[in-house]
């Protein structure tokens, strides 16, 4: 099989938050560069750009991993959304009872 340089696809932003797509793309940097295009309605065009001499199998594997990462990032975004205010509250409790400034 020959080398592959790029693959294109689209993602439905009703299923995946843009922040999750961006974070998943960042994580894939060792295997490929992922370029997000301007949204067309609910769809975001995605281009996977591979280093020279990337085999088709390696490209397929990278795309599979990207989608796996995307699902993980979606879960992370859900946890984050629900717990962000609680984390701030815990940090406030933590540091309100220290005497770091006096020390």
């Amino acid at each position: 099989m020959g080398a592959i340089r790029a693959r294109e696809t689209t993602l439905d932003t009703r299923l995946y938050r843009l922040v999750a797509v961006k974070k998943a793309a960042y994580r894939m940097a060792e295997r490929c560069t992922i370029v997000l295009g301007s949204p067309n309605g609910d769809d975001v065009p995605i281009t996977f750009s591979f280093p020279p001499n990337t085999s088709e199998n390696a490209a397929e594997e990278a795309i599979r991993l990207f989608h796996q990462e995307l699902l993980d990032e979606e879960l992370r975004a859900t946890i984050h959304e629900e717990t962000d205010a609680l984390r701030a509250l815990i940090l406030a409790h933590t540091f309100s009872r220290t005497d770091l400034v006096e020390r």
């Binding site: 960042y26 060792e30 879960l75 859900t78 946890i79 962000d84 815990i90 933590t94 220290t98 770091l100």
Partner: protein, 487 residues
């Protein structure tokens, strides 16, 4: 118009949980092919399958399920019966970060850059033995001791490094005596360590160390042939000098006054069992399996590029397996790097190990006084300086004091950048509470303090070792028992 209090507040229904429970802050990372690890800010963890993870996040867990109980006990969710969770998490987090107020515990004195060895992997760019202008002088030594006692830390450790520090033993003697004198007023818990190849150890030095409770750490890379292959000693045998020194220290000072560290060279990769067995033969009960760092001669000789992080991880895991087996056979043996990580996993207070902190331990966990009076934020920072990169230089003993160094905008900026909670990828990583920043490594390899973690050998190494440890803890009860005994 009358405004009632009720108009300014949402009703109770607004604050009601969306399901039978509410999520608490958590980070998640894949552990292996089928499981995820969830951690919280205080380092507690739970391992879940994908289905359980989805159920947890989507509020579908049954309150009477074991998963619900585990997540509730470790503060990943709370319900009407456990409203105290937030207070408990705050208390535990306060315990975990309390060490930040105990700055700066480790003070490294580079008393000389001279060395009698010509190690191919030397990371400090040592100088030849006869160049006296690479020694710390008496004035700088006194100024450095004064700075040590400006630190608010109740535990202070002074570590003498080189080159080979025993080549400038007079300055070590001066520092020890002055530190003890100053400490009569300060009453700190003071530890003194010399990191030496032990070639120049004498009865006089040992007598002094015995009198002042000075301990040693030394390099032992494995069996004689492997040790001498990389640790070249012109006109001598490095292995014989090191092992004779180890025995002499134990004889005079006691069995626990010398520790060994090994550095992985390409030749070590196939010999991990022999290396560990050599430590057993020499009577050690601990070993620190260290990879090469990209500084000094290790870069100039290209040695650091001769094996990959994946090679090292295989070497490390094989070594850990062998150490576990030794423990099962009744010989207590501990791997120090795993012990640091396990302390972070099992211990409420985390670990004080300077190279795995968030923010980085730069200046606030450890500080370096170089032979020429330069002050550096870390040991690796001064190694980088010998290669011409002075990013981690914080000042000079002639011009600066503890306050000016600690409030140096350069240092504050570096600490700000190295808080993992704000670093891409790290901020979402379940291993964050067990990991730390390595700004000198990323500066050396990627040109900035943070680096892109997808390309970071440091990140690959941390992820692989932590995954391995957690899998062993979860799946191997006897390994878990041994690991717990190391903390």
């Amino acid at each position: 118009m009358t405004i009632t209090l009720a108009q300014n507040f949402e009703g109770n229904a607004h604050f009601a949980p969306r399901g039978p429970y509410r999520l608490l802050p958590a980070r998640m990372t894949r552990l292996d092919g089928s499981r995820y690890v969830l951690t919280n800010d205080v380092g507690e963890y739970v391992v879940l399958g994908r289905d359980d993870l989805e159920d947890y996040v989507r509020h579908r867990l049954a309150p009477d399920s074991p998963t619900y109980a585990a997540l509730k006990a470790r503060h990943f969710l709370f319900d009407d019966d456990s409203r105290v969770a937030i207070d408990l998490l705050a208390l535990k987090l306060r315990t975990r970060v309390d060490r930040l107020a105990e700055l700066t515990a480790l003070h490294i004195f580079v008393v000389t850059l001279r060395c009698d060895h010509t190690c191919a992997y030397c990371q400090v760019s040592r100088q030849t033995e006869d160049r006296a202008n690479f020694d710390m002088d008496a004035v700088h030594a006194d100024l450095a001791v004064d700075m040590v006692f400006r630190s608010p830390a109740s535990l202070l450790k002074i570590e003498f490094q080189g080159g080979e520090p025993l080549l400038n033993f007079e300055i070590i003697r001066q520092v020890v005596l002055r530190a003890e004198e100053v400490n009569r007023e300060h009453h700190r818990d003071l530890a003194l360590v010399i990191a030496s190849n032990l070639t120049h150890i004498t009865d006089e030095i040992l007598a002094f160390c015995g009198e002042h409770d000075v301990t040693f750490s030394t390099s032992l890379d494995g069996p004689e042939a492997l040790h001498n292959e990389r640790r070249a000693l012109p006109r001598g045998n490095s292995y014989k000098a090191a092992t004779a020194g180890i025995h002499r220290i134990r004889e005079v000072l006691g069995p626990y006054h010398v520790a060994g560290v090994m550095t992985t060279s390409p030749g070590s990769l196939t010999q991990v069992k022999a290396i560990i067995d050599e430590y057993v033969r020499q009577g050690f009960h601990s070993i620190f399996l260290r990879s090469l760092s990209p500084y000094g001669f290790a870069v100039k000789t290209s040695l650091v590029r001769r094996y990959s992080v994946h090679d090292w991880v295989r070497f490390y895991i094989d070594g850990l397996d062998h150490i576990l087996e030794l423990n099962r056979q009744g010989y207590p043996m501990r791997e120090e790097y795993a012990a640091v990580l396990l302390q972070k996993i099992f211990g409420l207070g985390g670990s004080g190990y300077v190279d795995l902190q968030s923010p980085a331990g730069l200046g606030i966990a450890g500080i370096v006084y170089n032979y020429d009076g330069g002050i550096y934020a870390s040991d690796e920072g001064r190694m980088l300086a010998e290669m011409g990169d002075h990013t981690f230089r914080l000042g000079h003993l002639d011009q600066d004091n503890f306050e000016s160094v600690m409030t140096n905008p350069l240092l504050i900026g570096m600490l700000d950048e190295t808080m993992l909670e704000g670093v891409p990828m790290c901020s979402d990583c379940a291993f964050l509470p067990y990991c730390g920043a390595d700004p000198v490594f990323h500066r050396a390899t990627q040109g900035d303090l943070v680096g892109h973690k997808a390309f970071s050998a440091f990140c690959h190494k941390q992820m692989a070792v932590l995954r391995h440890l957690l899998v062993r803890i979860e799946d191997d009860p006897s390994a878990r028992t041994i690991f717990e005994s190391w903390v």
